[in-house]
Symmetry: C2
Subunit: 166 residues, 2 copies
DNA sequence: ACAGATAGTTTGTGTAGCGCCAACCATTTA
DNA sequence: TAAATGGTTGGCGCTACACAAACTATCTGT
């Protein structure tokens, strides 16, 4: 549904402000700031933001096939391979062949991986403090909750193995 | 330095409880999904997510020097030049020399730019619907508000080149 | 008025992420 | 047995970005 609030958007200075949900640019903006800071914080741990995302997904889903992971992360399968290679080389993740279908790899966090993820998240706290500094603790809590719920469907959908067609 | 659980070492093993600050990965994740969708929606308008961010900042700050813009966007000055070249070539933005300091360019949205930004945001609504679909409208409102406040300080701060009425 | 700093621009270099294609293996399914 | 599927590898090409160097125009301080 495309609603034009009216084609009159003009007036440079004091208009409309139909700021209902214009989250796109803001989200991008915030995420960028967060990433810039995260990178430096994460570097000593040998991780990059992507890795964190992948690890988080894996923790929350409790393991998934690479294909499903590629789906959740919305990135190309071939690149997922590289990502997992990194993580596995670091011992943070494990690929096991699925007993049901031995073509598949079931990817799971290792204990070390979970621990490292935890550390990383702690280390990240300062970055978040900086980026989300304008929010009060309570608000940040809400923010986190909303983030999680927004991301949730894809992430929490742990079954991850159901898929055909496509 | 290796991060150790040290002083906040309560709960070394419980995976679920420290759900306070976990926004980093989620933010990144959501932003990525949003960007993927935004790109396709924005393409027909000849814009990319970065442009959107820049335009948004410019609108919200009501104009700023390139240097200030580089600061807000946290990107290198030389790359801002290219970004603005695009935008100016498309007539969405205008560089005027500052009367106070003629070395400076004051960058401002043009009327066309404001209009285009508006259109882009409308076009983006569907992308947002998709990505934030799990949130109820009211929640989305809150989410947007939080985003805005979190981003706010940096954006609103811009050294206020007083200037209205383009 | 001159030197040095500053805003912006241009060009060029290097790095990294990522989508995509193609070839290939192991395995499953028809 | 043939075809489809999950994963892997390698390669191509594009884009974003930081960074550096050189240049112009302009400001500022002594």
């Amino acid at each position: 549904m495309v609603y034009r609030a009216g084609k009159l958007g003009h007036m440079p200075a004091a208009p409309v402000d139909q700021s209902e949900r214009r989250s796109g640019a803001l989200l991008e903006y915030l995420a960028r700031r967060m990433r810039l800071r995260s990178e430096s914080v994460l570097a000593p741990l040998g991780l990059r933001p992507r890795h964190l995302v992948a690890l988080t997904v894996l923790r929350d889903s409790g393991g998934s096939s690479q294909q499903a992971l590629a789906g959740t992360l919305e990135m190309d399968g071939t690149n997922v391979v590289g990502l997992l290679n990194d993580l596995e080389a670091a011992g943070l993740v494990e690929r096991r062949r699925s007993p049901q279908d031995r073509r598949r790899h079931v990817v799971e966090l290792t204990t070390v991986g979970a621990k490292r993820l935890n550390e990383a998240e702690c280390a990240l706290a300062s970055a978040e403090d900086e980026v989300l500094g304008a929010l009060a603790p309570g608000e940040r809590e809400i923010f986190y909750d909303l983030l999680r719920r927004a991301a949730g469907p894809a992430v929490t959908c742990a079954d991850a193995y159901v898929d055909e067609e496509r």
